[in-house]
């Protein structure tokens, strides 16, 4: 297999945007091309677009071709859309990685985009129900918060994890987002604010949850030869893993505080990269809800099972700790425009490993991990390095 690297990355402003789906594509595409002056749209031989529900939110399918035309890309080797709910962006990066590693493409853009907000707010929430099983779950009014609330309740009962510890994830990520001008929220948050925010699904309060956000992000992946010709500081893909336990709540691990699929996905990525969890300098993990970040610490091997509450409380997942988790502000601070999230995580890793992250730079960052999930039983992990091996 050939080596593959990121050579460019850019994100749109995330938030409740006065913008169309296509406006967001233009904004992220422009930012990405600006980051790599040697690449013009027609130089790309591939495009993968991660997007979950434009059929509902923008009344648009045929997404990859629409984005190609919007950005002036003429794919000659790969054109595809990936839909894997909240993990669509990283699943798209894996497609592009595999095509380039196999020699089937050389220079591919992966763009994630979602326009979730609608003129009627609870309609946007109704759309989110398409991500769980319609007949056996969404028909009852289920969306993501109750699923992760089950996990939080179980983690609290089994390990003594507290509401304060759940809230500390919200504080940390809102604080990080305050240094990220692209984030949905840029005002930070105190522990009192998080604990005093309104209840969504017990025990998860508003500031422990990612909001409904519009946004887009793009990265360019290149073969080693093209990467070295385009930049002195490519960011290398070192490892990748994906694993699924199940789709419906009825078929996941019976203890919702245990996510075996994440552990398997991480092990595959660590093995491929030949690194261990304690070597990771920064991690962009899928904190769709604060409990998800806590469980991710454990399944990714940053701490032992059950110890995630103290891990965040002691600052071990913050600057100066063992590993900086979600320096861009995570999904809680940046927002979660589904298909864009995994690509935005990669875009953060790109600037961090090149030392270009400004006020939120993780000192001496050399190895980074991203974790994207699409439910408690479906996980994707990527490992990136400043060096190719």
């Amino acid at each position: 297999m050939r080596r593959v690297a990121l050579v460019g990355a850019g994100v749109s402003k995330f938030g409740v945007r006065k913008a169309t789906y296509r406006d967001l594509v233009w904004e992220a595409g422009k930012a990405c091309f600006d980051s790599v002056p040697g690449v013009k749209p027609k130089d790309l031989d591939g495009l993968v677009v991660g997007s979950v529900m434009p059929e509902r939110t923008a009344f648009q399918s045929h997404i990859s071709s629409m984005v190609a035309e919007a950005l002036g890309i003429r794919p000659s080797a790969l054109s595809a859309r990936t839909e894997h709910m909240c993990a669509s962006g990283t699943v798209g990066i894996r497609y592009a990685y595999a095509f380039i590693a196999a020699g089937l493409a050389d220079l591919v853009m992966v763009l994630g985009v979602e326009k979730l907000n609608q003129p009627v707010a609870d309609e946007a929430v109704l759309n989110m129900g398409t991500g769980v099983d319609r007949e056996w779950e969404a028909a009852f009014g289920l969306t993501a918060p109750p699923c992760f609330a089950f996990a939080a309740q179980r983690h609290m009962a089994e390990y003594g994890t507290t509401e304060e510890q759940l809230a500390m994830v919200g504080v940390k990520n809102h604080t990080h987002a305050a240094k990220n001008p692209s984030a949905h929220f840029t005002k930070g948050a105190t522990l009192d604010q998080v604990l005093g925010s309104r209840m969504i699904a017990s025990p998860l309060r508003l500031f422990m949850c990612s909001p409904i956000t519009d946004g887009a992000a793009a990265v360019v992946l290149a073969s080693e030869t093209r990467a070295r010709a385009l930049t002195d500081t490519p960011v290398w893909i070192r490892g990748t893993g994906q694993a699924l336990d199940g789709f419906q709540l009825s078929s996941l691990h019976e203890d919702y505080a245990h996510w075996p699929a994440l552990k398997r996905a991480a092990q595959a990525a660590y093995q491929m990269a030949a690194v261990g969890p304690h070597e990771i300098d920064l991690a962009e993990v899928h904190d769709c809800f604060s409990i998800a970040e806590l469980i991710a610490y454990e399944e990714l091997g940053f701490c032992h099972k059950g110890e995630a509450g103290p891990f965040v409380a002691e600052g071990r997942s913050d600057y100066g700790g063992d590993v900086v988790v979600n320096p861009r502000g995570g999904l809680i601070g940046c927002g979660h425009p589904l298909g864009a999230t995994g690509v935005a995580q990669a875009a953060e890793v790109f600037v961090q490993l090149r030392g270009e992250a400004g006020a939120r730079q993780v000192p001496a960052a050399a190895l980074a991990l991203t974790h994207n999930n699409s439910g408690m039983g479906e996980h994707v992990v990527m490992i990136y390095g400043k060096e190719p091996a």
């Binding site: 109704l126 009852f140 609330a149 209840m199 969504i200 419906q248």
Partner: protein
């Protein structure tokens, strides 16, 4: 034409639309059932037309207990989809070894506990476009 949305959140349950229609017919009559594979004899939740264990596609309907115990629950107070009222009690109920995702109707949230006994209370939702009644397998506290 005025602004409108169209997303019916409920299953199409009649024989015109699903091979699992008997589940809903029996549910409407007050009985919880599921599929049992004719190939390997395993029963599944939710009902399914293809056995994940042995690959057979033939099944029989079997009755499940009308009572179960709460395995997990949460009360959603805000952020519900259009058409659904808060507070809403979502739960996983254990019935004959299966984990059934459901809502608990008429429950007092503060009094709920894991392990609590609940019983089937079929919930009638919006009729389908032909006027056929539609039901969901909800539960209530015993």
């Amino acid at each position: 034409m005025t602004y409108f949305r169209a997303l019916d959140p409920f299953p199409l349950e009649s024989a015109d639309h699903t091979t699992l229609h008997e589940f809903y017919t029996r549910l409407g009559a007050g009985t919880l059932t599921t599929t049992k594979c004719r190939g390997c004899g395993r029963s599944a939740w939710p009902p399914r037309g293809f056995c994940a264990e042995c690959g057979a596609a033939a099944f029989d309907w079997v009755d499940l207990a009308s009572e179960g115990t709460v395995h997990a629950f949460t009360v959603q107070e805000t952020g519900l989809p259009a058409g659904f009222e808060a507070p809403r009690v979502f739960a996983i109920v254990k019935v004959d070894g299966h984990r059934v995702f459901t809502v608990l109707t008429g429950a007092e949230p503060a009094a709920l506990r894991v392990g609590q006994r609940v019983r089937l209370a079929p919930l009638r939702v919006a009729d389908d476009p032909k006027g056929n009644p539609r039901w969901l397998p909800a539960f209530e506290v015993v």
